[in-house]
């Protein structure tokens, strides 16, 4: 069965706590580069919580925008890679092939959402921290691009389990790390090819919008607008 994985982010529920980013880092063997390197703009977060200030002091409020990889249907990053290290797979995901990447960083330049991160150095997990690494993923060497994959290892695991048990993947069975962790439940993940899934219903929500839609990238991540009401 063909899948069309998508994500919906409810900005009404997002508190900007950042738990999703931490979960993603833990799940995907993402390096923690330290304060100095983050200060230079080299954080390795696959999912960033962009924070914007709305209004002026003392009426200023913070707006939080979790930005994962949009897994664009017409991903600008895919066309410019000279070695096919990133391409569109059958599930409609933007796949990243670490050991093919030569590190030209053109894909990062072409991503309007700037979701791609680069391994500026080799990363060492000192003992015993190396025991926290997930065996489902590689540890990337220096010079390689990486980005959010919608936790493709969990998608694969679910596919294998479902195939073993001779059934389809159930709605809610595949849960990326960020979706699993979000305390207020702002993140939703599912299969748009399944007409009964919760995400298919969420796609009809009148609050929905896509980030930078005018660029024609056709992202698979949909945001639900924050309501303005009493106390907000």
């Amino acid at each position: 069965m063909k899948h069309t994985w998508a994500m919906a982010i409810d900005l009404d529920r997002c508190t900007g706590c950042g738990a999703c980013g931490v979960a993603c880092t833990a799940e995907n063997n993402v390096a923690v580069v330290g304060e100095a390197e983050v200060g230079k703009g080299r954080s390795m977060h696959w999912l960033r919580i962009a924070r914007y200030w709305d209004g002026e002091y003392p009426e200023a409020t913070a707006v939080y925008l979790p930005v994962p990889c949009m897994q664009c249907e017409r991903a600008p990053c895919e066309t410019v890679c000279p070695v096919y290290a990133t391409y569109h797979n059958e599930d409609g995901l933007n796949a990243m092939v670490y050991n093919r990447c030569v590190g030209t960083r053109y894909c990062a330049n072409n991503c309007p959402y700037s979701v791609r991160v680069f391994n500026w150095f080799d990363h060492i997990w000192e003992k015993p921290l190396d025991e926290q690494l997930s065996p489902d993923l590689t540890v990337r060497s220096r010079g390689v691009m990486e980005k959010c994959t919608f936790c493709i290892q969990r998608i694969r695991r679910a596919k294998e389990t479902a195939a073993e048990e001779g059934r389809q993947i159930r709605d809610g069975e595949v849960v990326p790390a960020c979706v699993q962790t979000c305390p207020p439940g702002a993140l939703l993940f599912g299969d748009l090819a399944d007409p009964h899934s919760e995400i298919t219903r969420k796609m009809k929500d009148p609050r929905r919008f896509r980030l930078m839609e005018h660029l024609g990238t056709e992202p698979r991540v949909v945001y639900l607008k924050r309501q303005k009401g009493a106390g907000r």
């Binding site: 249907e73 895919e78 066309t79 890679c81 096919y84 391409y87 569109h88 056709e218």
Partner: protein, 174 residues
Amino acid sequence: MSGVVVVGLFEGIEKAAEAGNALRALPLAEDRITTLSSVPLPDGSVSRDTRQIRFPRVTLIGWFAGALAGLALALGTYLLYPLVTGGKAIVSVPPTLIITYEVAMLGALIGTIVAGFLEMGLMRFRTKLIHDPRIHEGKILLCASVEPGSQAEQVITTMKAAGGIDVRSEEGEL
């Protein structure tokens, strides 16, 4: 031209032209007379180039061969490794045009080099070639390819009469 060549140095283009005319009056065929000079002389001033210049055709052949190679490269890589990128067609036309054009120009360049070198007669390292370094002093070496014997004698006499310096008969290729 090969075999016996009678050569003579002449001071300046006017003297060389007179000698050339004298040789043609002998008669000696136009395609047996040529010059060696350190500056290119206008065609017909002393000798005339009778053979057609053919290698530019190879430029065109090279261009088409290169275009075909470029097309094969682009189409080949698309079709042998069909991955969807950015929603674009597997056979993407504009990049194919660019690659085809570039390799076509490469083919034209290589064709010109190879055919040009061959037609100019360069890289004949093993053959003995007629040459005189004194042409770099402002002199022109007039060369006549002749049958050994009476024709060679005639030509030597004619060149000497026209003011040729160090007129001699040499073995070698022109």
